[in-house]
């Protein structure tokens, strides 16, 4: 019967089809094989830094017979928690937020590095404070591999030198300088906090730099761990200074109303006009790049851009450095992964990368001549010589605060929608209880 022979044909087709699908499933999978000699690393560093580090790491691992599969992932924080809950993670994840590392430790999925790495060597080569950022419950879980520095104030070198300004040494002289520039007819500060979903974060950086100088390392850490609330005299003191420097009418280019709506990357634009529209920009070192500054400025960094470290509150007082970076976290127990971790802990890591990217090593023993220009050397030594390196607070606080209310309420305060007290109380209220 016609249907029967059709039936048989179809049955054959079905079997063939099933086997093809099975092959597709296997070959379509490709990629991550489960051989123990392959180590997967996920990182969210900038493209140039990523490219450089990948080259170095892959080469070094190959020498030990290990294949490294290193992938760049944008916004790794969101993805990694999902993967962790599903037990499907890369071997090593380089995470730019200690708070997230802490979450991973809480769920028991991070490996203790103190048994894998040479802790004594690290303690002597790494900038003070950098090891602490990845330490939880007394053990090291996140190793800082690349560093960025935030306690910096940039200025247009030519116009600055012409006017004869000098870097301030404490808050009093910073305030005096601010007034001096204002008196000369130029708004002293470039300040903008717009950043789409992350609007507000530059304001949190200001607060953090101020809190750590008024309260020292201990005061800062207590605040970041919520032992000191936002609604406290320390934080209010910092906010008052910020208000004095930035929110006084005439102190910021574009006025207070433009701060929250101007993109942070555009804040520097007025600096490069023939008659600068503002003189000082406090920002992290990543801002020195053609993505944010005109190419004519970036083409000769040392001639065009000057920088000084954000001063201490009183001359000679506490002068920690605010910064960020990527913390390498070990998520697997394989021997190969541990070996790769050791490669990441090597103090010379980045020797091929530094010259062509914004990479700064957290090891104070790093060969400074490898940095591409004097500007970077000044920036790096600001960190190496400081009393302590402190990780960006909003990255260390729980996500609900650090990437949530801290940004939002600061934005609301600056744009005049909330008064300071309400903002601080809101942030305190949002701190997760569990």
């Amino acid at each position: 019967m016609q249907t029967l022979s059709r039936g048989r044909k179809l049955a054959l087709v079905a079997t063939a089809v099933a086997s093809l699908v099975a092959t597709a499933a296997c070959s379509g999978g490709g990629g991550s094989s489960s051989s123990s000699k392959t180590v997967t690393i996920w990182s969210s560093t900038d493209p140039l830094v990523f490219a450089g580090l990948k080259k170095e790491i892959v080469a070094k691992a190959k020498a030990e017979g290990i294949t490294v599969n290193m992938q760049k992932v944008d916004n790794i924080n969101q993805l990694i928690m999902t993967k962790i809950q599903a037990n499907d993670t890369p071997d090593i994840a380089m995470i730019p937020q200690p708070g997230v590392v802490g979450d991973i430790v809480k769920r028991g999925k991070a490996q203790d590095l103190s048994s894998v790495l040479d802790m004594n060597a690290l303690k002597s080569s790494m900038t003070p404070g950098t090891l602490e950022t990845g330490t939880f419950n007394g053990k090291l879980y996140g190793l800082l591999v690349s560093m960025n520095v935030k306690s910096l104030v940039f200025y247009p070198k030519k116009a600055w030198d012409k006017a004869g300004y000098t870097a301030p040494t404490d808050f009093a002289s910073l305030e005096a300088l601010t007034d001096k520039i204002k008196a000369s007819g130029t708004p002293p500060w470039c300040f903008a906090i717009g950043s789409d979903a992350a609007t507000g974060w530059p304001a949190t950086d200001w607060m953090e730099d101020l809190v750590m100088r008024y309260g020292g390392v201990q005061g800062y850490n207590d605040w970041v761990t919520h032992k000191t609330k936002f609604d406290s005299s320390l934080v209010k003191q910092a906010a008052a200074e910020m208000e004095k420097l930035l929110l006084t009418p005439g102190n910021v280019a574009g006025g207070r109303s433009s701060i929250a709506s101007t993109a942070f990357g555009d804040a520097d634009n007025p600096m490069w006009d023939a008659k600068p529209g503002c003189m000082m920009l406090k920002q992290g070192n990543f801002i020195v790049s053609k993505d944010f500054m005109p190419s004519k400025v970036v083409s000769d960094v040392d001639a065009n851009i000057g920088v000084f470290g954000f001063p201490p509150a009183t001359a000679g007082g506490d002068n920690p450095t605010l910064g960020g970076g990527d913390l390498a976290t070990l998520l697997s127990t394989s021997d190969s992964a541990k070996k790769v971790m050791k490669i990441l802990a090597d103090p010379t890591l980045g020797k091929d990368t530094a010259g062509s990217s914004s990479f700064i090593s957290p090891h104070k023993t790093f060969d400074m001549s490898l940095y591409p220009n004097d500007l970077t050397r000044t920036i790096a030594s600001t960190a190496y010589k400081s009393t302590a390196f402190l990780f960006d607070g909003s990255d260390a606080m729980p996500g609900a605060v650090g990437a949530g209310t801290f940004w939002k309420d600061m934005t609301a305060w600056i744009s005049g929608q909330e008064n300071l007290d309400t903002a601080l109380k809101n942030i305190d209220q949002s701190w997760p209880t569990s």
Partner: protein, 327 residues
């Protein structure tokens, strides 16, 4: 790369072929049963593969979600209705609920109206012109949300007074002598939410236009002819002949848009992340889950959304009964 292409082609053919074969086999199995049973089993067999997929990918997670909404942030301890009460008490969340409601009231209606308008008007053009017009309106749907965010950045961007504007809207405003406005911060009368809705309309009207256009084309020519012979003018034809016959599609478009607006998140996330009183439930859900890592709160928002669809379900049921009666 070559193997990938080959594998894809094989999979497409294999997948579709396998599905067809599967149904054919199920059909044959059903036919083997005595007639009475065959008629009773067959419908279930037809919906079986679809329902398997739905059960695994939608129902099972939905059930897990309802359970999670009664647990804490890492889904380890029971907290009862705490997630709900905690959220509903906060002023911010109440604002979020109101904003979402605003989106629900405005967007679906306008989407249907605009889609219908374009479909009807374009229908009167020559085929080439019609195709061009529809493609232009449809084009934004081809852009991913990240792309759309970048596109509208060049419309809404604000630069301080005195600097050159790179956003078109502010360029027009300053060109006419005004001061630039940070559009996405203006929450008087929810202006910024309305501007975000414009973005969604821009992207989604293509969807309603396509479906409604297909429906309009599906209206049998004889019914139109008959009305025309009876002397009705275009407007009357449209209202009394075309509309009733496409009404089912209108409802479909309205309901699908309504439901997708309820969980809208990309646009708000990419442009403002809910700042300046633009927050909506979908965005709040995303932040709770991926920023705060709070499974319990995120889950409770989903449950609230599910509850909110009940009135829609009720309407759909009544629509069914009406359909059945008319058939």
């Amino acid at each position: 790369m070559g193997t990938k292409i080959v594998t894809t082609i094989i999979t497409v053919l294999a997948g579709v072929g396998a599905a067809l074969v599967l149904y054919w086999v199920l059909n044959r199995l059903a036919e083997l049963l005595p007639g009475h049973w065959e008629d009773r089993i067959k419908p279930y067999l037809y919906i079986l593969p679809a329902y398997l997929a739905i059960t695994f990918y939608l129902i099972y997670p939905a059930v897990e979600t309802v359970i999670d909404s009664l647990k804490d942030s890492s889904s380890t301890a029971w907290v009862g209705l705490d997630n709900y009460t905690h959220l509903l008490k906060t002023h911010d969340f109440q604002q979020t609920l109101f904003n979402t409601l605003l989106w629900m009231l405005i967007v679906p209606a306008v989407t249907v109206a605009l889609g219908l308008g374009v479909a009807v008007l374009a229908d009167r053009l020559k085929p080439k012109a019609e195709s061009t017009a529809k493609t232009i309106v449809f084009l934004p749907m081809a852009i991913s949300m990240v792309g759309a965010g970048t596109v509208w950045k060049f419309l809404y961007t604000y630069r301080p007074e005195g600097r050159s504007q790179i956003g078109l809207q502010n360029a027009i405003v300053t060109g006419l002598g005004g001061s630039p406005v940070p559009w996405l911060e203006q929450n008087e009368f929810h202006l910024n939410s309305l501007l975000l809705m414009v973005m969604l309309l821009w992207a989604q009207v293509g969807f309603s236009m396509v479906l409604l256009s297909a429906a309009i084309k599906g209206v049998p020519g004889d019914t139109i002819e008959a009305a025309r012979i009876d002397g009705a003018n275009e407007r009357q034809i449209f209202a009394s002949v075309v509309v009733p016959q496409i009404w089912g599609t209108v409802i479909t478009v309205f309901i699908t848009t309504l439901i997708s607006v309820m969980k809208i998140f990309d646009i708000v996330y990419v442009m403002t992340n809910g700042n300046f009183n633009t927050n909506v439930l979908g965005n709040e859900f995303f932040n709770q889950l991926f920023t705060n890592f709070n499974n319990g709160a995120a889950a409770s928002i989903v449950v609230m959304l599910m509850v909110a669809t009940i009135p829609i379900m009720i309407y759909q049921v009544r629509h069914f009964r009406a359909e059945e009666a008319a058939a």
